[in-house]
């Protein structure tokens, strides 16, 4: 009886792990797309509204969905409180802090970190160009992420179930 209970627990845990990995693969392209939309909105705020960076980011965070809104909100709050940190430091720290909660990987993070070093320090055209560059890079990453999703989403699901079954048989 206990043996069967343990077997069910092991299979359940590994199945859930596989589904979790699959959901990460599914969430990555979606979040990259949200990030692209957010950056485009930011470009609009900067290009047509000439909104200051904290306000633009605060507006962005109210329009984004879950993992990204907290990141932009934190950056906006910390820029508003007016400590002596530069916008670059605040941006990069917050991006690093909140990156663990997103499903995105290091290429997107590098793009965002690089974008942070050019925001808020130059004129409008320069910033718009940097945002455009970041958007292009992110679009490439999104295509790659979608390929990976097609490849690995089902794979990690079935590997979770099969791996659990294998462990159970091995130690039964």
């Amino acid at each position: 009886m206990m043996k069967i209970l343990g077997a069910v627990l092991i299979i359940g845990a590994s199945t859930l792990f596989g589904y979790y990995k699959a959901s990460l693969y599914a969430a990555r392209p979606r979040q990259i797309r949200q990030l692209i939309h957010a950056l485009k909105r930011l470009a609009t705020e900067i290009g047509y509204g000439s909104t200051p960076l904290p306000e633009a980011l605060a507006r962005l965070s109210s329009q984004c969905s879950r993992p990204l809104n907290r990141m932009f909100g934190t950056i906006a709050d910390r820029l508003r409180t007016g400590s002596s940190d530069t916008a670059k430091d605040v941006w990069q720290e917050s991006v690093r802090l909140f990156w663990g909660q997103t499903a995105m990987k290091s290429p997107e993070r590098e793009t965002m970190l690089e974008l942070g070093s050019s925001l808020g320090i130059s004129d409008r055209e320069n910033q718009l160009k940097h945002i455009e560059l970041a958007v292009t890079l992110l679009q490439h990453e999104e295509a790659a992420a979608r390929d990976e999703q097609l490849k690995y989403e089902k794979l990690s699901r079935s590997l979770g179930v099969l791996g659990g079954a294998l462990i159970v048989i091995l130690i039964y």
Partner: protein, 67 residues
């Protein structure tokens, strides 16, 4: 006798699961990983068989050589 039957079923189960993992990995275009999975499954089964064979030889030794 009971123990032997269980071991045989265990080995058969490992074979089935390994074959399924191989098929899944191969379908997703990871042939190298599929071959590694098969090799690892083979090695595990090999260890189990060697353990059983070791028991068999111990039995033979106790029966024939050291009375």
């Amino acid at each position: 006798m009971n123990f032997d039957i269980n071991a045989i079923f265990q080995i058969a189960g490992i074979g089935i699961i390994t074959a399924m993992i191989h098929t899944v990995l191969k379908q997703m275009g990871k042939e190298d990983m599929a071959h590694w999975a098969t090799v690892i499954g083979f090695v595990v089964v090999m260890f189990m068989v060697i353990r059983l064979l070791d028991e068999l030889f111990q039995e033979i030794k106790t029966i024939f050589l050291f009375q």
